[in-house]
Symmetry: C2
Subunit: 268 residues, 2 copies
């Protein structure tokens, strides 16, 4: 038995932070960082926008899981600038200075969010007009970029800054374009949710695979959704890059589950 | 004869600003904006990081040519944050609020700059090891993203923010991944320059085509280099998107011109 990896989790007080604590606490030596008290066994309170305040938390850390952000697609520019842009730069820089091996960035489907808001077949899937969807269609991939919000723009920034930190400094950066982690863990209330769903179990696997992937993973962008039949993203790349293999997945038959029928009826 | 388009040029005091003034001043009603006095007939001094200070300059403007930035690949994070990130957001937002139709963003080859620093055949071309280059090879395209500097990251941010402003607000945004505009206007001193060269004449055409392209151009990313034989970017997309058709171009025989032989000799 070797020592457990020392993993710093920013945004530890958030929903995904809680999943990391509950499902991965046995695997890693976890340290929580948030601007509010996350209540973890080991934790620190500091604002990501304050570089000097967060630096001490990075000492001796091997991997940083960077979840901390203003996650609202309606977030203002001022909030996005401080929390997501400056905050993410501070996380990369503190990780680099501390000699960390890797940053796992919680990116988001919102970096490509205007495809399903504007273009078929993605839009038809989100709106439940499934009879209009012609298969096969091109899955959105790692090179697509069409943010639907300042939040999405800030995560695209996090990806490209991560690419720079990898090429320039050798820091491994795994960007997870996370779908929709929801509580309760059941997407059967909207076709877009059936497409975007990342189950709690798959979220834990995704983050764990991103932490544990060999250093040869280098820089990667990985879509993080469960194996949903209505998915519109290339999740196979996640298998190649870090070994992510989702165990859950919503099937198209879920569109007829109780609670969905009313919605699908309105759309058709 | 209709009225001339009213075009605001940020960073007017810079090298490319001077080319716009000298070569396009007869076509447009130009207004220069810079944090130093650019000396144009109509101009305003303000810092792009100060939103309220720059707002008045956007009144009644149809197209904004956004050249203003810290253009150094060695620029610090603090300078990039203020001048390029906050400054570019302020330009889009002021353009939107003023009802401008389009922003032409001076992006840069540095958004994909780590390809020629790291990967063959791009690197071999930049270093003059031309006998090692197997053709055809994949040209870098609009979907590639591999910034080589905080400057490059900030321009990638400008591109994705422009994509958002286009989809969300209908603002047309043309991103020009500009090569290397040099003075004197002669690239025959280094193989990388032969690859990156954008002649003054082609720079003026590029910006003019970006200003005049029909509104159907919408959002586009266009590589801005002359038709150099050693190019590594897809410049054909610029023809399709905005009608850019470079008139100049360095041929491979330029590698044997006076001044080059010493360099090529050292590299081989």
């Amino acid at each position: 038995m070797g020592e457990m990896r020392k993993v710093l989790v920013t945004g530890a007080a958030g929903q995904i932070g809680g999943i990391v604590r509950d499902k991965l606490g046995y695997r890693y030596e976890l340290i929580g960082l948030d601007r509010v008290d996350c209540g973890w066994h080991r934790s620190q309170v500091a604002d990501l926008a304050d570089f000097e305040a967060i630096r001490p938390a990075f000492e001796g850390v091997e991997v940083v899981v960077h979840l901390g952000a203003d996650p609202s697609p309606k977030a203002s520019w001022e909030s996005v600038l401080d929390n997501n842009i400056v905050g993410t730069r501070n996380v990369y820089e503190a990780a680099r200075q501390a000699g960390a091996k890797r940053v796992v960035l919680a990116s988001t489907n919102h970096v490509v969010g205007f495809y399903p808001l504007k273009d078929d077949p993605y839009r038809a899937i989100y709106e439940g007009r499934l009879s209009e969807v012609r298969r096969p269609f091109r899955m959105l991939d790692q090179r697509d970029m069409r943010p639907d919000s300042l939040y999405g723009v800030s995560k695209a920034f996090g990806e490209s800054l991560g690419s720079f930190y990898h090429d320039e400094f050798g820091l491994s950066v795994i960007c997870l374009r996370i779908g929709w982690v929801m509580t309760p863990d059941d997407p059967a209330f909207h076709p877009a949710a059936l497409s975007l769903w990342l189950s709690h179990r798959d979220a834990a696997q995704l983050i764990s695979k991103a932490i544990d992937a060999p250093s040869s993973a280098g820089y990667a962008i990985v879509y993080g959704m469960s194996k949903n039949e209505l998915r519109i993203w290339d999740i196979e790349e996640g298998q190649r890059a870090i070994g992510f293999s989702p165990e859950d997945g919503a099937g198209e038959e879920w569109t007829t589950r109780e609670g969905m029928s009313g919605f699908m009826g309105r759309v058709f």
